[in-house]
Symmetry: C2
Subunit: 253 residues, 2 copies
């Protein structure tokens, strides 16, 4: 069976580098802020500072889109907003479904950053029958049984998975079978998908673990003591005095 791949070299023809694509939303946000302040033009230096990147990198990124700047002046904010929006496909409406309406799913449904950028939450789906019909963010939750019908009726091509890890692959399979070709996965699981389907993952605990690594290294530098290979006996967690409330565990790890 075809083991799916998360990332594909994609159409290697005249494509925009992946790293550049990942930064376009960053530029777009900065430009939108400038637009709302009615700033007419912006230099690469200023925009780069606002987006938190190197100015040379920004200019090279924009060069992949075309020559939209004016030498000696900078970039026209409105024009650039439109060009980037078009390049990212944000000038059209993208209906998305969110599967798994736990704490995180509800947060996503309420997230304002989606609607303001062309993403429309077409449906909320959960496996719990008790949730069915209950409105979240003004949208009634529907049951998983109707997943395929919902996808097809709304022409959904982007799905968001916010289920527990154990259900993620199964949900993913059903989404893909129903026609979804892009998936944003919040469940801490490696998803297997067929070719042609894009998967991006957001893992909350992984980010924290990466921070912990650097944090530990910073702490180790200060003590300047060569850390042995032996377990560093840190302060014990002491009495955690039991579970501070029963954690609903949206995502068991």
């Amino acid at each position: 069976m075809a083991t799916g791949r998360t990332h594909r070299p994609a159409t290697r023809s005249r494509g925009i580098p992946e790293a550049t694509v990942a930064r376009l939303p960053l530029y777009l946000r900065a430009l939108t802020a400038l637009s709302e302040r009615s700033v007419p033009t912006v230099s690469s230096e200023e925009l780069a500072a606002a987006a938190g990147v190197n100015s040379a990198k920004l200019r090279k990124d924009f060069s992949y889109l075309g020559s939209y700047g004016t030498r000696g002046v900078g970039y026209d904010v409105e024009y650039l907003v439109y060009q980037i929006s078009r390049e990212l496909g944000l000038t059209q409406d993208w209906p998305v479904v969110i599967v798994g309406i736990g704490n995180l799913g509800a947060a996503l449904a309420n997230y304002g950053g989606f609607a303001s950028r062309g993403f429309r939450v077409a449906a909320l789906i959960d496996a719990d029958p008790a949730m069915a019909g209950k409105p979240v963010a003004g949208i009634p939750v529907q049951h998983t049984d109707d997943l395929e019908k919902i996808i097809q009726d709304n022409g959904v091509s982007i799905g968001v998975i916010a289920t527990p890890a154990g259900a993620a692959q199964q949900v993913c399979d059903r989404l893909v079978a129903a026609g979804v070709t892009s998936i944003l996965n919040f469940a801490p699981t490696v998803l297997t998908v067929p070719d042609g389907v894009d998967v991006r993952k957001v893992d909350l605990s992984i980010e924290l673990q990466i921070l912990a690594f650097h944090e530990q290294r910073k702490a180790g530098e200060e003590t300047a003591a060569g850390d042995g290979a032996l377990p560093a006996t840190t302060r014990d967690a002491s009495a955690d005095q039991g579970p501070d409330g029963d954690v609903p565990a949206v995502m068991p790890a």
Copy 2:
């Protein structure tokens, strides 16, 4: 730069590449699953498949940690779990605070993936006085006024920002001033921090925008037309108009 004491570029640890560090949590998760099934050893091929990476890459990653494998056999699961945990700093307890208890903040507080990996939610902090004392995930929310005291009393070095974008930088500054040196930022804003402070960001809408780009290209490969030439200025800021003008991370309904 101000307050720049550490001259280090925050990379160049003991020689472990950043890309490898980012994958270690992935391996750790796969190994933990194997450990729970009492699998004694695992080959690089099997583990790579479980983690969704190339086996050669996995072996090279592990080679940075040391020679923990046995040729002809594979890796000892338990031993590797311990080594990776130690390398990531997960053998010690990391108290974290979450600032901004909206939908997302509440979801994070309930997230099971934190506690199970050495991260302990030491406190929840919100600017809304109405939230004070109200328990979320069994932890009473505290007011922003006490932020500095909370950080210091609990020895917190990792902070999570889940506030609206407009408040993020201010919260960040206070966290850093109080001693936090690692920040996980969910607000759609570029944070400016002094040297020595690590920031990782998770932006929900950026991920969707990247997916939309690929989705559009997939659709465009077939029908090059369909460019409706919609007016560029169709976006409407739903609500909340801060000086930043951008979308808040999460707005309580």
